[in-house]
Subunit: 202 residues, 2 copies
């Protein structure tokens, strides 16, 4: 990996990942760092911890706090935020599509569109109609992308991402991994992750 690349590991149903997805490219560009987008599924990692849903559902006080915390932060960044009806969303199709986009270059724009649809628009991102609009916003061909998303190659690539996340010690998202494998967790650590990457000798 280039010495000036920061990996951005995210789950599409993750509320705090929304905050990071909307700002990581501009922050990284200022620091002359390249972002490597790493979509994966947090579900299997949560499941291994004994959780069958989001910790924000398992622990209601934490869930209520999360909503208020993100509302406050979103306001300062000119974003809107509300939980969609189905939370956490089933993010499998979105994640497979994002894997398809990695070789075609549209994953960042698609990811932002999915997060906006979900946490600004309140839409259900397991719905193919929603995903079709997100692909269009990213300039991707829906029919082609949907077909590729269903192939074994893509399914396996997504599983490999998720396995790699576990190996890296990732237990929640967003997570950021520097070229020297320092792990930073949470939107509130994004600036530190960028600073760390910037300070590594080329």
């Amino acid at each position: 990996m280039s010495r000036r690349t920061l990996e951005f590991w995210y789950e599409f149903a993750s509320t705090y990942s929304y905050l990071s997805a909307m700002r990581i490219e501009s922050l990284a560009a200022e620091a002359e760092i390249t972002v490597r987008w790493r979509p994966f599924l947090l579900g299997p990692i949560f499941h291994a911890q004994g959780w069958d849903t989001s910790p924000f559902n398992l622990y209601p006080a934490k869930g209520r706090y999360m909503v208020r915390d993100i509302e406050r932060i979103a306001t300062t960044r000119g974003l809107r935020f509300a939980l969609p009806k189905a939370f956490p969303a089933n993010s499998l199709n979105a994640a497979r599509l994002a894997i398809v986009g990695l070789s075609e270059g549209w994953t960042p724009a698609f990811t932002r569109a999915v997060y906006s649809a979900q946490f600004d628009g309140g839409e259900d991102i397991s719905d193919w109609d929603v995903l079709e609009r997100c692909l269009a916003a990213a300039g991707a061909d829906f029919a082609v992308a949907r077909e590729r998303a269903g192939t074994d190659e893509i399914k396996q690539a997504l599983r490999a991402h998720t396995d790699e996340a576990a190996v890296l010690g990732i237990f929640g998202t967003p997570a950021f991994v520097t070229p020297d494998e320092e792990l930073f967790w949470g939107d509130d650590r994004l600036d530190s992750a960028i600073d760390w990457t910037r300070m590594i000798e080329a």
Copy 2:
């Protein structure tokens, strides 16, 4: 409560509370805000969530990350950090002593001494010899404080703190509560909590 007071809710065994305890007074003073120190026990709140120990023990990946995260932050603040052998510590006696100190004014200095002994010195804060040194560092009389800490009045006052924390929606520490009852959680939200308090109209 005064319009310029920020409540600092903390558990003595909490690693991130250590970070906040060491800097909250200087940050608040710059903003002309008074800190109200609110020691309580997180154990009963964790227990109500089904946890019998720290989440950093229940979820080892999270625990490993926490240690590294705090090491990085501590370095930038000129602090040292290591987990003590017994983690989480039994913090009952420290918390009762801190309640005693509220009416005598030495709770902030005592609290900082306890956190330093535990997370810099690696000491067991359930040990009365350790607590005696922490009281001395805070200018408090050990024999008097220890006797008061064992009274029903103090035990009940600590229970009342813990009950109030639950009512406020606190589920982890450090937590900060503004005069208009906005809750902020985590050392990384301390600056936001101070800004929020500062912006409230007097």
